[in-house]
């Protein structure tokens, strides 16, 4: 793909660039979060701290809803845990590629792990080139997401309800369409196709479950289905296959 190995700087900016459509998708949610959160009983410093130190979009939304609903601190923290459980799957999937990184890398990258960065970073790790700086791609993606989330939260806090319904801008579709493009490029054999169908169907039927547990259930069943199909019809060379027909340029 690359005649020469990309430098750290190139990986960093490639990671930030690859995350741009997902950042666009996060903008309305960041603004809505800030706006909604300050109208709950939370103080402005608490709202900003949540974005700065928790940095988990869905969990922050749900926590603010629970605060407004008057639920206890313990319930809110426990709910946050369940909403974020899917990150354990992301971490397990990334870990084999990151095993040689020192703690000073693993700590911040662990903190910055989100749906969005996971999606683009796992694609980068799956690419066959032997770049030693793929964690810089992760760093670029993570810092871009993080910076955007802080700015959007702040805009939401300051502008509050004056911004007319940012969800109606249609930017929320940006994340969905990016994920669709990634998933389609990953469907390269029967096992992945079945995995995707099972996961998608389960996610729809289990969508009523609270705390994103439907998402977890769907992902787990989808993974099991993929493994089952693969063991029935082994794919030639499946172990070394790169599930990323999406190339660095298209990202």
């Amino acid at each position: 793909m690359h005649p020469t190995t990309p430098t750290r700087r190139e990986e960093f900016w490639a990671g930030a660039r690859a995350t741009l459509p997902l950042i666009a998708g996060a903008i309305p949610f960041g603004i809505i979060f800030g706006a909604v959160a300050v109208t709950s009983s939370l103080s402005v410093p608490a709202v900003m701290s949540m974005s700065l130190f928790v940095f988990a979009g869905s969990a922050q939304f749900i926590a603010v809803g629970l605060v407004a609903g008057g639920l206890s601190l313990g319930v809110i923290v426990l709910t946050t845990f369940f909403v974020n459980l899917r990150h354990a799957l992301y971490a397990a999937s990334l870990a084999p590629y990151m095993k040689d990184l020192p703690q000073r890398w693993l700590l911040p990258l662990g903190f910055w792990l989100t749906d969005e960065s996971y999606a683009v970073v796992i694609l980068r790790y799956n690419q066959p080139d032997a770049s030693p700086y793929k964690h810089w791609f992760f760093l670029g993606s993570a810092i871009a997401m993080y910076t955007n989330w802080q700015i959007c939260t702040l805009i939401g806090i300051i502008a509050g309800r004056q911004i007319a319904d940012p969800q109606s801008w249609g930017l929320d579709f940006a994340m969905i369409v990016t994920f669709i493009g990634i998933v389609v490029s990953l469907i390269q054999n029967k096992a992945v196709l079945v995995s995707v169908i099972v996961s998608g169907a389960t996610a729809v039927f289990a969508n009523h479950l609270p705390n994103k547990l439907g998402l977890m259930l769907a992902a787990l069943l989808g993974i099991l289905a993929g493994v089952a199909v693969e063991s029935i019809w082994p794919q030639p060379g499946a172990e070394t296959e790169t599930p990323g027909a999406v190339t660095g340029e298209t990202l």
């Binding site: 009983s41 939370l42 103080s43 608490a46 701290s49 949540m50 928790v54 988990a56 969990a59 601190l73 809110i76 923290v77 845990f81 974020n84 459980l85 990150h87 992301y90 971490a91 397990a92 999937s93 990334l94 870990a95 084999p96 590629y97 990151m98 693993l106 662990g110 903190f111 792990l113 996971y118 796992i122 694609l123 969905i176 369409v177 990016t178 994920f179 669709i180 493009g181 990634i182 998933v183 490029s185 096992a191 992945v192 995995s195 995707v196 996961s199 998608g200 169907a201 996610a203 729809v204 439907g214 769907a218 992902a219 787990l220 989808g222 993929g226 693969e230 027909a245 999406v246 298209t250």
Partner: protein
Amino acid sequence: MNEPLLILGMVLVTFGVRYPVLAVVGKIKLPEPVFRALRFVPPAVLTAIIAPAVLMPEDNQLLLSPANAYLVAGVVAGLVSWRSRSLLLTIVVGMVVFLGWRAVFGAM
């Protein structure tokens, strides 16, 4: 509400889910079946996020109709990605169809 304690609790459970697995799983040698299963995480998880967003954009109700701009643009984006293998083209066409469809037929 004790706000500092709330933030601290949320930080601990969020970081506590993200970081330890990242730090530990890489250090131990995973059995081959686990490693194989992990390769299905990206398509399975991303689909689990997409499917409800596209098929049930409002209130947990399946909306299988041309009035659902998410569904129409999602299907078009899927086809574009499949034929072109270009993520950028997929995003551009998908967004144009989504915004255009809503402009013409109205947001739900």
